[in-house]
Every structure is written in structure tokens, then in C-alpha cells.
């Protein structure tokens, strides 16, 4: 028997310590992995184990000036299948294709697709969703969801806008106030095994969605509804192409109504107007038609304002002092500007008249004279001062800018035509905002809808303020303008806008659309009441009316009817 030698023992001890060192090193490695890298790997593992499903947040409602909800949510269902939990694929295909009115192949393809979760159909009515849930099919998931719903269908469609498949705003206020309305999506986190099957005992982690804020706007659905009705009526009786009506508070810029008929159904925004042949339309062409249907003419289209713009020329002239109410003019039916002969609409001429009478007659030579007295520099100065070179800043997407001569290109003839509202283009909202500012004492207001946002209980979250530019005209000029414009309605070209028992001011316009001689006209009227302290301003624009096309005869009565209805409603009617 060979004995264990000392060196053998030493070597065994050496081996033990060698192993000990390696074990300690491995423990160090474990310490690094399990303490210092723990958060990193834990997060990675969590991502691997958790399946995330999002819960849509309820979108904030849109509420009008009276507290009426005009954009709401309704519950709809999303039907999906979870491949790994399906037990009876044939029955699922049968039931889903029957209930959802889908082709069997369409459903089968999705049921048999190997994926963790496959959506079959979304935006399914709640009743239908409940019916499918009642079948109790393993692997079929019915998730409740919100869908935008507009109780007034087409009313104020171009203002409100609508939302898309992910509940995101597409046009109008829905997109402008997306950040306030959309809220924050929530999530359901479930823990699954490697096959994607949820582990019940692990429970689920919910991050509740935060509903969006309600948007309170100045729009008054009663006024909107009446304005829309009038616009429709006018469009029919005058066989017009389009009728826009804008009603706003000239004191603060709040818009009470904005109708631009024809409007569209907000609950079916992708449906083209009846009678449109969609059969052989290309996708692009169809989208073009949809865009045209959604287009809000009050802010996105420009036009030559015509005689309504004389309000601006008059205000500039009075403010600059180149004309007074008592200045005398003589109209022979035309005026020579350099070597150009510009006609008055009354070819026989208005004869002798003072400035007020000239305005009441809407006499072109009078305003050309005022414009020429101002000169290009001054006219341009006021054009700019009144805010006409910039956009109004209305809180709707897609506002068009002013199309105006460059100052250096503006000669006497151009100045003359601009003075009575031709040869340049502005948007209806720009005209309404500018006239409002001239008659409200000279404060340039920003036209707008949004007043505030609030949570579901009505607690105010954010109140919106809009820029106001003070003293674009003096309060004296403003008062003079109110007086003159009241005369226009009381005894001048705008007398069809007169409302018994109320003081109404206003100005008519009839402009021929380009190209001249096409026989297409735009008849318009801008009116406000009460004339001494305006609380409401209305602009009616009728595109291409058939038959009589004069603003005074076509547009002014529309404003009269509107005022007859809304002045008592607003408490601005004097019953004596």
C-alpha cells in the first residue's frame, strides 16, 4: 500500500483553494447579474412575459353655448380572436360570419392565422357585441370601445369635424383641439406563458385611461340650426351653389353659428352626397370629392368682397380725416381714374350726395374718391392696421390668407378698385372679423369657437384667451360707422335687412365672380344689431344665385329673417 505523501496533501489543498477561488468569482458574477443588472433583466423579462392591450380613452365631448352635447361617444365593440385559445374554429367562423355579415373566407383566414391576437371587426354595435359574447366561444374576444357620435348629424359639420378609426380628429375643431379631447390611452397588462396563454393567478395590471377634456364652445346650436335652415332654404329658392352664414359676437369674437351648406353627415363622413356616381371613380378622385365636401368655405375659400368692403374704405377715410360725413360728392354714373373709366352700378348716376348718402347708395365713385384721397400708402397702412394682411387666427384648421396686390404694384386704378372691394380676395371670416372690429369701438378681435375645457364633472381645466388689438380705429370713427351703416339699412340699399323694433346696421354687396362676364355673382350682406351697441353680427354669402342676384334683394332678407328670430332669443329686441 502506497501512503499519501505530504506533497499529495499539499496539492489537494491547493486544488481545493483553486476551486474556492473560482466559486468566489462565480458568486461575484452572480452578484453582478442579480443585483447590479437586475433591473435591466427584470425589465426585459417583464416585456417578454407581458402582453399589452390598450384601452381607448373616452374622447372629450364638445358642448355648445347652452350646454348641449354636440359631439359625444357611444360604446362599440371590437371583435378579435386569440389563436391559441380557439377550440372550435369551424363554429367560430360560422357564428362570426353570420353575426358580423362577413364572408366565411374572410373570417376563416383570420381565425386560422397564427398570431397572438387577430382583429376581425371593429366598430360593431354594442348589441351585436353582446350577442357574440353570449355564444361563449373560446378564443373569441369582445372588447368594448368608444366611437364618436354626433347627435345633430350634419349640423355644424364643417366646424366640428369628425374622427378617424383611432378616434383621432380629422378636420375641424376635432383636430384643432385634439390634444385636449383625446385623453390618454390606458393599458391592460396580462402575464402569459411562452405560448401566449394568459396566466390567471398572475392577475392583470391595469393602467386606467384618462378621459379627454370636454370642449365648451361659443357655438349656439339653436342659432346654428336656424342659420343652417335659412341657408338651405335660400340655396333652394335661389338655386344657389352654396350659401354661407356666419354669426358672431362682434364684441369678443365668439362665433355663434357658422353654416356652409351643403354640409355633410358627421356620422357618415365618407359618404359622398346623394347622386354622386362613385362607380368608376379612382381612389384619388374620390378623395378629392370628399375633401371638397368637407371644405369649410367660410374660412378656406377667398372671394372678392365687393361693396361690403366699402365699410373698410369708409372707416379708413374717416379715421385719416380725408372725408367727413358731410362731404359732398357728385356721381355722374362713372369716374375717371387716370385714363380708365370706372362705372357706378347705377349707370345714370346718383347725382349730388353727401358721404352718408353715398354709402347708403353704395356709390362706387364716392368710395373711389375716398380711396384716391387716402393714397396707396395710407390705404395700405389701414389695410394692414385692420389686420387684413394676416389671417384672423380663427381656431379652425385650414384658414386661407388674403390675396392682395403688392404695395409696389398698387397704382391708382388698383387702389380705386380695392376701394369698392374688387381686384383682391379675402375670406368670409376675415370680412366678418374686420367689420366686427370697426363697429365694436375699434378693437380687432380674434374670431373663435373654443371657450374652455373642463373635466367630465364640468370643472374648468383651461380657459382660452385670444389676442385683441386695441384702437385699430378710434371710438369716434367706430361710432360714425355704426351710424352710417344703420342709415344704409334704415333707408339705403340695405333696407331689406331692416327688422322692425330693432336697430340694425349693415352693408350689401353684389360682386361678379371671375372671369367677368360669366354671369356668376356673389350676393352678400353683412349686418349687425343693435346698431348703437352691436351684440351680434351676421354675414350671409350666396354663391351664384339664379334670377335676381343683388345682395340687397337676395342676401339682406336672409339676415332680416335671421335677426327676426335670433334677436328676441338673444334678448336684444326692443318690443315697444
Amino acid at each position: 500500500m502506497i501512503k499519501n505523501k505530504t506533497y499529495n496533501r499539499k496539492k489537494i489543498v491547493t486544488a481545493f483553494f483553486l476551486f474556492l477561488v473560482i466559486f468566489v468569482a462565480l458568486m461575484g458574477r452572480l452578484l453582478y447579474l442579480m443585483v447590479f443588472s437586475s433591473d435591466y433583466y427584470m425589465e426585459k423579462a417583464k416585456q417578454l412575459h407581458e402582453r399589452e392591450r390598450s384601452i381607448k380613452a373616452a374622447r372629450g365631448r364638445i358642448i355648445d353655448a347652452n350646454g348641449t352635447v354636440i359631439a359625444d361617444n357611444k360604446t362599440v365593440c371590437t371583435i378579435s380572436v386569440i389563436h391559441s385559445q380557439i377550440r372550435e374554429p369551424d363554429r367560430i367562423v360560422e357564428v362570426l360570419s353570420k353575426e358580423l355579415e362577413l364572408s366565411e373566407e374572410y373570417v376563416r383566414k383570420r381565425v386560422e392565422k397564427y398570431s397572438s391576437i387577430e382583429r376581425i371587426k371593429s366598430n360593431v354595435d354594442k348589441e351585436k357585441g353582446d350577442a357574440i359574447r353570449a355564444y361563449n366561444l373560446a378564443g373569441v374576444k369582445v372588447d368594448e370601445d368608444y366611437k364618436r357620435y354626433y347627435p345633430y348629424d350634419s349640423l355644424a359639420s364643417k366646424v366640428l369635424g369628425f374622427t378617424g378609426g383611432d378616434n383621432q380628429g380629422i378636420i375641424g375643431l376635432e383636430v384643432r383641439y385634439e390634444d385636449y379631447l383625446k385623453g390618454q390611452e390606458g393599458t391592460i397588462l396580462t402575464v402569459t406563458d411562452a405560448r401566449g396563454i394568459e396566466i390567471d393567478e398572475a392577475g392583470e395590471e391595469r393602467v386606467e385611461p384618462v378621459p379627454g377634456n370636454d370642449l365648451y364652445i361659443s357655438l349656439d346650436m339653436n342659432i346654428q340650426s336656424y342659420a343652417t335652415q335659412l341657408a338651405k332654404q335660400t340655396m333652394e329658392t335661389k338655386e344657389a351653389e352654396r350659401v354661407s352664414i356666419l354669426v358672431m359676437n362682434p364684441q369678443n369674437g365668439e362665433i355663434m353659428a357658422m353654416a356652409d351648406v351643403p354640409e355633410f353627415d358627421l356620422n357618415n363622413p365618407y359618404e359622398l352626397p346623394e347622386g354622386t356616381d362613385t362607380g368608376d371613380l379612382s381612389q384619388e378622385k374620390k378623395q378629392e370629392l370628399l375633401n371638397a365636401m368637407w371644405r369649410n368655405g367660410c374660412i378656406s375659400d377667398t372671394y372678392e368682397p365687393g361693396s361690403t368692403f366699402k365699410v373698410i374704405t369708409a372707416a379708413a377715410g374717416l379715421e385719416e380725416g380725408v372725408v367727413t360725413v358731410d362731404d359732398r360728392f357728385s356721381c355722374p354714373g362713372y369716374i375717371m381714374v387716370e385714363d380708365c373709366r370706372i362705372r357706378c352700378h347705377k349707370t345714370s348716376g346718383h347725382g349730388a350726395e353727401n358721404f352718408v348718402e353715398g354709402t347708403m347708395n353704395s356709390c362706387n365713385p364716392v368710395f373711389i374718391t375716398v380711396g384716391l384721397r387716402l393714397g396707396v400708402d395710407n390705404y395700405y397702412k389701414y389695410f394692414k392696421q385692420f389686420g387684413l394682411l394676416e389671417k384672423t387666427g380663427v381656431d379652425l384648421p385650414g384658414e386661407a390668407g388674403t390675396i392682395m396686390h403688392k404695395k409696389e404694384d398698387m397704382k391708382a386704378v388698383e387702389l380705386a378698385t380695392v376701394s369698392f372691394g374688387q381686384s383682391f380676395q379675402i375670406t368670409p371670416i376675415q370680412l366678418a372679423a374686420t367689420v366686427s372690429s370697426i363697429i365694436n369701438g375699434g378693437r380687432r378681435v380674434t374670431p373663435h369657437f373654443a371657450v374652455m375645457t373642463a373635466d367630465r364633472e364640468g370643472n374648468q381645466m383651461k380657459s382660452f384667451t385670444y389676442p385683441v388689438t386695441k384702437s385699430i380705429v378710434s371710438s369716434e370713427t367706430s361710432a360714425t360707422m355704426r351710424m352710417i351703416l344703420e342709415q344704409v339699412v334704415a333707408a339705403g340699399s340695405g333696407k331689406n335687412g331692416y327688422v322692425e323694433g330693432a336697430r340694425v346696421g349693415g352693408k350689401t354687396a353684389t360682386s361678379q365672380t371671375l372671369p367677368r362676364g360669366s354671369g356668376r355673382y356673389i350676393a352678400s350682406f353683412v349686418g349687425f344689431a343693435p346698431a348703437d351697441n352691436p351684440k351680434v353680427l351676421a354675414l350671409v354669402i350666396i354663391h351664384n344665385p339664379q334670377g335676381v342676384y343683388y345682395g340687397g334683394q337676395v342676401a339682406a332678407p336672409v339676415v332680416r329673417q335671421l335677426f327676426e328670430n335670433i334677436l328676441p332669443y338673444l334678448g336684444e329686441m326692443d318690443y315697444n
Binding site: 500500500m1 502506497i2 501512503k3 499519501n4 505523501k5 506533497y7 499529495n8 496533501r9 496539492k11 489537494i12 489543498v13 486544488a15 481545493f16 476551486f19 474556492l20 473560482i22 466559486f23 462565480l26 458568486m27 458574477r29 452572480l30 452578484l31 447579474l33 442579480m34 443585483v35 443588472s37 437586475s38 435591466y40 433583466y41 427584470m42 426585459k44 423579462a45 417583464k46 417578454l48 412575459h49 402575464v191 406563458d193 411562452a194 405560448r195 396566466i199
Partner: protein, 379 residues
Amino acid sequence: MRTREESFFDYTLLFDVLFLLAFGLVILYSTSSYIANLEQNGDSAYYLKKQLGATVLGMIAMMVVANIPYHFWERFAALGYFVSVVLILLVLTPLGIEKNGARRWLNVMGVSLQPAEVAKLAMILFLASLVCKMGKSIRTRKGFLIMLAAPMPICALVYGVTKNLSSAIIILGISVLMVFVSSPDYKKFILIGLAGIAGTALVVFLIVNAANSESLSFRGGRILAWLDPEAYADSKGFQTLQALYAIGSGGIWGKGLGKSMQKLGFLPEAQNDMIFSIICEELGLFGAAAVILLFLLMIWRFMVIANNAPDLFGAMLVVGVMGHIAIQVILNIAVVTNTIPNTGISLPFISYGGSSVLFLLTEMGIVLSVGKGIRLKDL
């Protein structure tokens, strides 16, 4: 004759082994029950039952071997070597079983047996007896070379025939340790160690440089996945990365017994080579350190027994077993923590695997038998 009172029995080692076995079965059940439930028609104790059977068998073998004087085995040293060679070659015959794409098992009367496990035990026995036979000639250059050359045929066969690199490395490691202990020299081993480190570094360097060429072999890919498992998350790095997720999410105290997520099918071979990462996930750094300490305790006992063994043969047997268990534990933990490239090595007494636990317990029996030879007055 020694009286009963004078004889020694290493109860510390015995209880350490029993504790590891019991702990291993608990962890095995925790790790495998979810998958077993799915794969074996609801029998969540499938793996537990099979492992329990092998463990009972192994414990019987251990007690029997512990009561046989270890010199009894000396006469089988050459035979064991020969049998190992034959068994390894048998894998190539229809008796061989292929699992997971590797042909490493033999079907012996319905029980699968891994010849590499037999070879480990046979090698320990063979080298221990060889050391004794060579006596002082082991100090010569020739003796040293003979000692080094003896295990090579087996290593080559295990690697060449069963494509089992890890077992070949373990057998080589055990042999080197035994040669180290038997020889009084240090310098040669330091040189061997340095050469080994340099060679490994060179191989890694070459593979990293060849990373973009398509000719990279199976093992080359494993080395790249080792260096950056997240870049190979979908292929070679997948298992390693899943193991790291399990280990990292354990933290200091673990998620609690039974609460592992990675065992739910995310981590392949969770009940087998990767079981240590589930221990880490469920019991945390605390549990993992406790397991390592249990193995350290075992190795310490081996050292004590080897140093007090009645003769060199007994000491060398214990050194062999010590090498076997220590190397296997170290390599297993190093693999699951991605300290070395991924290769299949099971964790002694804990990983699922019948022949492994059977042979390990037989080796424990030998160690206990050597321990019994210690006379108390020698201590």
C-alpha cells in the same frame, strides 16, 4: 481489527448530499411541473417521478458501495476503461438513442444510459490505480507523459463519437487534476495552465475575426453568441439570454419558490442544464449562494477525506470525485451566467437526468467507503 468505535463515517458529507438531493427534487418539481403538465397529459409530476426513481436507485447503490472496501474496485480498473470504450462505440450501433439532435445515449433494457457518465467513473478508477502502480516513476518525464496520455483516447472518443465536448472537457479536467495531485511538480502544470489559457484566447480571437465569414461552425457561433447574446437573441444566444432574464429577475431574495416565469416555456431545458437559473429566479442571490456553499462544503469534505485517506489509492479516488463534481458545478454555473460559452453541462444532484444522479451517488459511495477507512486516531 479496529473496533466499531474507532471507525469514521463522514455524516457531514452524507447529509450534505441528502440535503442537495431533496432540495434538487423540490426545485425540479417546481421547474418542470408546468411543462410536464402540458407535455405529459396533465402529469405534472412526470419528471419528478422519474428522477425520484433514479435517486432511490442511486441511494441504494451509494449505501452498497459505501460498505464495500474500496480496494475491491481496483481489480476492475483496466476492465472499466475497456468497457467505457466499448459503450461509447455502441452508441454508433442501433442501440444508440438520438435526443435533441445528438446521439449520446444507449438503450439498455429500456433505460437510457449515457456512456460518458460511465467513462467519468471508469477514468477516476483507472487513473487512481495507475498512479499507485507507477509509484515513484511518476516523477519522471516518461511517467508524467504516460499519466497525461492515458485519458486521451477516452476524451477523443467522447468528443469524436458522441460529439459531447462538455463531457470530454470534464473527463480531461478530472484527469489533469488527478495527475496534478499525484505529481510533486508545479511548474509543468502552471505551463499547461498558461498554454491552455493562451490557446483558448487564440481560438476566441480567430472566431471573432472570422465572425462574418459563412464557414463558421456550430461551436464558433456559440462563441459569438457568448460575447453578445442579445445580438443572437433569435438563434444561438436565445437560451443564454433567457437564462440571464431568469437570473437577473431573481434579485437578492428571488420571486419565491414556484413563482418563476421563465420556466413557463420561455427557457429551454429549464429542468435540465438551466435549472440553476430557475433557482436564481425563485430563490434569488440568497438561494443561489446557499447552493454554491453546499457544493463548497462537499468539496471541503472531499479534501478532508482525501488528505486523511489510509492510502494513495483511496486519496486519488476521492480527488477524482472531487474534480468531477467541482468541475461540473463550476462549468454549469459559468454557462448559465454566460461566463463561458454555452455548452450542455448538468448541475450535479439537481438537474434532471437519471444516469447522472445514479453515477454521482455511486461515486459518493466510493468516497464514503474511503472515509470509513480513516482511523479516528489519524484525524
